[in-house]
Symmetry: C2
Subunit: 302 residues, 2 copies
Amino acid sequence: MSSGNLLVAFQGEHGAFSEEAVLKNKDVLAELDGSKRGLETIPYPSFEDVIKAVEKSWVDYGILPIENSQEGTISETYDLLIKYNVYAVLDIKLRVVHCLISHKDTEIKDIKKVYSHVQGLKQCSDFIDRYRWEKIPTYNTAGSVQIILDHNDRSEAAIASKKAADIYNMKILKEGIENNDRNYTRFFIISNTQQTELEYHLSNFSAKFDNIYKEIPIKTTVIFSTYHTPGALYGCIGELANRGINISKLESRPNREKNWEYFFFLDFEGSIDDKKCKEAIENLRKKASFLKVLGSYICLES
Amino acid sequence: MSSGNLLVAFQGEHGAFSEEAVLKNKDVLAELDGSKRGLETIPYPSFEDVIKAVEKSWVDYGILPIENSQEGTISETYDLLIKYNVYAVLDIKLRVVHCLISHKDTEIKDIKKVYSHVQGLKQCSDFIDRYRWEKIPTYNTAGSVQIILDHNDRSEAAIASKKAADIYNMKILKEGIENNDRNYTRFFIISNTQQTELEYHLSNFSAKFDNIYKEIPIKTTVIFSTYHTPGALYGCIGELANRGINISKLESRPNREKNWEYFFFLDFEGSIDDKKCKEAIENLRKKASFLKVLGSYICLES
């Protein structure tokens, strides 16, 4: 890597929520990396470009959204995590505050069209529908501000972060227009090296920072497939349940090679450094037709 | 209902894949309904409009896509099935064949932009990316043909069904441009009345039609939430597994009221008319913090 800085890839344009999640946690990430370097965020056009850059060591880390508290799983990320050889090393939850952004001389009554990422439009649908504005889906939230800037039409508005409005020097007509004030997005920081010594890092974090997600500080994610026999999934989950390991999420994604067969993403509390988690994974490996350990990670909330 | 016909609501414009799925199975649906009436498909702008029309008896049935073999769960449908009081009465799998549709005088080399529903763009991404065309997401596939017709710009193309090209009298430049020739979409036919006597209907179907999905003819879907205790999900699934009932799908959706809690959608083989399925559901009801039986249905492939 040519830069002296710690490089972190994100999807979208500067001002994206992914970038905000990295910048809010940059001290934690530097601590985890053990690095004294500065941190630089690098925009990439797609999620696949981000994960590829991480796999090929063009950057040190990448960030990918995996789940929104209101809209659910970001399925594209899950599919990429099956395809590429990377690890989850940190779990970050970010409170997502959407702003209605316009040209300086626009008032709410002037607006006819509103641009944002599909997720942004969904997360603010109650507000948008009250005004019956036309919704135009774009490929990212911050980029939608660039679009209305280019069009220079005061009947157009965008939905994005406060930061995006600042970057493009546009007006914030209204802040916090999301349907639900419990709107959080969960991200994975990914690396091409598995994170270890989680308990050591966690104690360092706890001493220095206050944004550790207190109740469930360390989790592990595994991806697996089952054989096509009755009770197969139940048997796999039993390897965890019977050891008293708490499952926090179970999600299925289709296997693109075999119709109506699935990959399961299982999040559970505990680390691959723990003896009982290690045992559970080894037994799961014997029962599953496919198993990949995505990694163990500390959970943060910011 | 004012019309003498059996009314079936679908989302989008005439020529949509949902409508195709209904029309291909109209004899089966008439048989299930026990009706001698003709069948009429009614377009609605959104999935929510479709499910609302069914709940309020403005139509007899509705159709909603629930899953694509390549792209996975249609999360919007799952959320609506939690919110509205309807039942799944039939499961239809449709082989989705996408066409590249243009103006009569357009050649492939003239194209710069391509319009379709986000799912259509995703399902044909390999083909589109080969030409580096700009992708413009729209709210439905058939509607994107209407858009390029209105724009009257020969550098624009749309991705939709063969039927949509016929309806708008446009040219099919290429048929079958989807990434994967195993591209199927699974739909639920919904009703505000639960379907019963499935074995009786199945024997009628088998005698008359040849599009029954042979291996798994009857399935049931339940939606449930678990208490937040270790082993809770495992205990719920055990009610089925321990009775030898095969789970065909398990999917989680976020609870919008409680962050990082989930509704599980569980599909299993068998009908609510079966004694052991009925028992499993009753026991699941005791263990779950929430349970809703979405219904039992016959599975078809067309």
